[in-house]
Symmetry: C2
Subunit: 201 residues, 2 copies
């Protein structure tokens, strides 16, 4: 069946953003990452900064996180924890975006959220540590501990995925295509994905 | 670095053999699967049928398996279990084959055995159950329980891989390319792998 929606899951620093952008540009379709965060924020009343930081993190259960919850909307969280409430909002936004038309969605467990649609191509990108360190330092030259940052971000994504999907993050069977961006390079990865979309028609 | 050796790990019935054969033919390089088994057999004195059945199976520890061990070669097993002895022989054969020149190797944990070489491209192929059932029935029309056969073979491969490599079978980070052959088709999978080899030059 024709694949119209591409989800890109990725290790931190493995090039999910540049590869996702290349694909969206070549196909002329919307690209959702921070934009998606804004959609979620608008829908939920959560501050964008809070969602960006917690949207893929492990559920903390910390009472402090409630301090950032939507203000002045009595009963909006329906007794859910902040993480669970945010998960529900994210699911709704991603399902709506997919319904709207072809797009590329990076992160946010979109592969799982859209698992009942047949027109979705799920991709996972990974890379070796040296090239991820290089990419983190390129984006944040002042980062003192890029290896620590990578390990922490990956751990949060892994735990969040496992908690909300019951699946193992990065297990090949969850995706149609998994690629090592260090060995293949961003452009070849984008080309493989674009061809898969083209050939699905 | 140029990739000269392609290892293909695969779920049972996911098309590892046809995809591997296509690649080897296109590149004009040797294809090792049952042939590899024969090499191992010659080297070890094990009967080929025994190796074919046990070469990727979980270590059983059964004393009965010793009944199939090489005859008349005192001390050849050096006190190892049959499984461990077979693993050592397989490692040696695969290391030697890789040293000989470019080739395609299907199965036998070759990705792990060749992990110290930089000229190896590691691939994992998976597929959904209906297409694997169809493939099993195509090869064995009399098979009464294809789903059971698939589950049993995958379990053995998974346990064998975990035991001898300490890694998780099918985890995307162990391979450069993982592909869903149901969605992509054998030919497109072969093309992706061939392009990756070509672009590594």
């Amino acid at each position: 069946m024709e694949k119209r929606i591409i989800t890109i899951s990725r290790e931190y620093g493995a090039g999910g953003l540049p590869v996702g952008r290349m694909i969206a540009e070549k196909l002329g379709i919307p690209f959702y990452d921070k934009k998606l965060v804004e959609h979620v924020a608008e829908e939920s009343g959560f501050a964008p900064k809070f969602i960006e930081e917690h949207g893929e993190h492990s559920p903390s259960g910390s009472v402090f996180s409630y301090a950032f919850a939507p203000q002045g909307v009595p009963g909006v969280m329906n007794g859910l924890s902040t993480s669970d409430y945010l998960w529900n909002v994210q699911c709704n936004v991603i399902l709506q975006l997919a319904e709207k038309g072809p797009c590329v969605i990076v992160g946010r467990n979109a592969d799982y959220i859209l698992k009942d649609r047949k027109d979705v191509l799920n991709v996972f990108l990974h890379a070796d540590i040296p090239s991820r360190v290089a990419r983190v330092l390129e984006a944040n030259p002042d980062e003192k501990n890029p290896e620590g940052r990578i390990a922490a971000r990956d751990k949060r994504r892994r735990l969040n995925y496992q908690h909300y999907t019951g699946r193992t993050w990065g297990m090949s069977q969850n995706y149609h295509i998994c690629l090592d961006t260090t060995t293949l390079g961003y452009e070849q990865c984008a080309e493989i994905i674009l061809n898969a979309v083209k050939n699905s028609k």
